[in-house]
């Protein structure tokens, strides 16, 4: 399961990262090293082990259906790189 340059290109696309040719090579090498290192986990038999997604068995945490104040439109947009008429403005979305 060695990671290839093609894998790197695919993940970069999924992660919305632009990677230069040089970076592709570095990533292929570095990710390869790390993945090689984590291979040690294959030594363990984990077939009948259930995964730990949460370290403590807390469950059923709810809130009641109550409305609280929202942010003001100014606060909502205070960090917006671009805005128009109360909307966030974004570059063209190609459909």
């Amino acid at each position: 399961m060695d990671i290839t340059k093609k894998d790197v290109e695919y993940i970069a696309k999924l992660a919305r990262l632009e990677v230069s040719e040089h970076e592709k090579e570095t990533f292929t090498e570095q990710l390869g090293d790390i993945l090689n290192y984590v291979k040690v986990l294959e030594e363990l038999n984990t077939e009948d082990i259930s995964p730990t997604f949460h370290v403590f068995p807390v469950k059923n945490v709810f809130r009641s259906d109550q409305i609280k104040e929202s942010l003001s439109p100014e606060e909502v947009l205070q960090n917006a790189p671009d805005q128009e008429n109360g909307f966030f403005k974004v570059p063209r979305v190609i459909e």
């Binding site: 696309k13 999924l14 919305r16 997604f53 949460h54 807390v58 469950k59 059923n60 945490v61 709810f62 809130r63 009641s64 259906d65 109550q66 409305i67 609280k68 929202s70 942010l71 439109p73 909502v76 947009l77 128009e84 008429n85 109360g86 909307f87 966030f88 403005k89 974004v90 570059p91 063209r92 979305v93 190609i94 459909e95």
Partner: protein, 476 residues
């Protein structure tokens, strides 16, 4: 066309009718100014955390119960990762392998035949925001008000075999969902949205054909038209020996055709993994039973009961149970005025006619079941005539007054007092000795004239049956 079998599965997204959003306390109100129902949580600001609205879970369980699903004792949320400007966290909190409910079904009538359509799953997730594209198409605007409105996604098995059946299923589903009250199911406001997976295959073939996914059908009509177009497009391609490409299509209402959505063509690698910010749900029997108590009698069961309990025709029962409100209205009336067929006739006739004309529904009409029942009682007792009743009803519908009030105000009450009528009739006979003599001479026609005169004097409020009787008696 008949040599092909159509295979359709639907994915329905339903906005739940909670007051606040699924993971934060912003309101779910539709149609307000952009970005006014937004807080750090639903805006996905750095550092925020979701907390589940219990009501949303209750509604999802209720939906599952209404669709005869198994409720999963263990259920959890997962992140579905993808980039889109209407998705602030760049992941949607959804459910992957442990949805709230699974393995259900919905019984429908298709071409007069009973059919059972499998429900694969019912899961909870958060809605995304809304994109508005500029006219020139060079930029888009984003409104996050809808972000985080609770949704259930209902996925059917690929059990639907025609476009009409798909539409019929959707209508039955909507009816049931409205009964449960989990959503207002307004396709035009997007609170009920439907996507479809469509494929065709030669009859007898056991493998499914290549499917396309059809989106953006914003009404029942659009669902049927979109599906029809797509089915025909697929068949004509196969006929020409061409292959179907697996793709996502958009129904374009304007040009009445399906259009490929290239932006959705990228590999669907959503990298689902368990949402670490939310803890699992244990939906145990006590919780399920608590929610089951809020499950109303559903349309099919109600229809059967109406036929059995009230002895009304199947046709009546079908119409009366088309909405929970109408059925409740009917039953309340019958409780007070126990003549089911008469109540049914008035509901399906006059009431429906007036409601349609005024564009009202059972939530906002002024006439209460008690009022209608009282009016029917007066009609039965002969206090008003059938003809008067329609007039009285129209007034009651418009004003919200009781039948008694309307009748009194208009002086419409029918005169059924024998003494009063005899006095009036004596006067009429005295005034018109000619026709009276004619009747005595077996000229039946003359009676009509005399009745007419009585009606004229009483301005139509005399009980016509009694007038006839008394006249005949007197002129024997």
């Amino acid at each position: 066309m008949s040599q092909y079998e159509i295979v359709i599965g639907l994915e329905i997204h339903l906005e739940l009718r909670t007051k606040s959003k699924i993971f934060c306390s912003c309101p779910t109100t539709f149609g307000d100014a952009p970005n006014t129902h937004v807080c750090p949580v639903c805006l996905g600001l750095p550092g925020v955390l979701p907390v589940l609205n219990k009501k949303a879970l209750d509604y999802a369980v209720l939906t599952g119960l209404a669709l005869n699903c198994d409720i999963n004792t263990y259920s959890k949320f997962d992140r579905k990762n993808y980039f889109y400007p209407d998705l602030p966290k760049a992941y949607q909190i959804s459910q992957y392998d442990f949805p709230v409910a699974q393995n259900g079904n919905l019984r429908i009538q298709s071409n007069g035949e009973p059919r059972v359509i499998g429900i694969n799953r019912v899961h909870l997730e958060e809605d995304a925001g809304k994109l508005v594209h500029s006219e020139e198409g060079d930029y888009s605007l984003v409104d996050y008000n809808r972000t985080g409105v609770p949704l259930v996604e209902i996925v059917t098995e690929p059990d639907l075999r025609s476009t009409e059946e798909a539409r019929g299923f959707l209508e039955s589903l909507k009816k049931i969902l409205l009964y449960t009250g989990v959503s207002d199911c307004k396709m035009e406001e997007g609170s009920l949205r439907c996507d479809a997976n469509v494929s065709v295959r030669l009859k007898g073939e056991t493998e499914l054909g290549t499917k396309t996914e059809l989106k953006n059908m914003n009404s029942f009509k659009a669902v049927q038209k979109g599906l029809e177009f797509e089915v025909e497009r697929q068949i004509s391609r196969l006929e020409k020996g061409e292959r179907i490409t697996q793709e996502t299509l958009r129904w374009d209402e304007g040009s009445a055709q399906t259009v490929s959505m290239r932006s959705k063509e990228e590999a669907h690698d959503y990298r689902y993994f368990p949402e670490p910010d939310l803890v699992p749900m244990e939906i145990g029997a006590p919780m399920v039973e608590e929610i089951r108590k809020t499950l109303p009698e559903l349309p099919l069961a109600k229809r059967e009961r109406f036929i059995a309990q009230y002895g009304i025709p199947e046709y009546d029962a079908e119409i009366l149970t088309s909405t929970r409100e109408m059925a409740d209205y009917f039953e309340e009336c019958v409780k007070i005025f126990p003549d089911p067929k008469a109540v049914s006739n008035w509901l399906m006739g006059e009431l429906a006619r007036h409601m349609n004309a005024a564009g009202l529904n059972f939530y906002n009409i002024k006439i209460a079941p008690q009022h209608l029942a009282d009016m029917l009682e007066m009609l039965q007792q002969g206090k008003i005539s059938g003809k008067m009743a329609k007039e009285v009803f129209a007034d009651m519908f418009a004003s919200g007054k009781t039948a008694g009030q309307v009748v009194a105000e208009k002086g419409l009450e029918q005169i059924s007092d024998r003494g009063v009528l005899e006095k009036i009739i004596d006067e009429v006979i005295k005034k018109h000795p000619g026709p009276a003599a004619d009747y005595r001479a077996r000229k039946e026609k003359a009676l009509g004239f005399l009745v007419g005169q009585v009606m004229k004097v009483t301005r139509g409020s005399a009980n016509p049956q009694m007038v006839n009787e008394i006249l005949r008696d007197k002129l024997k």
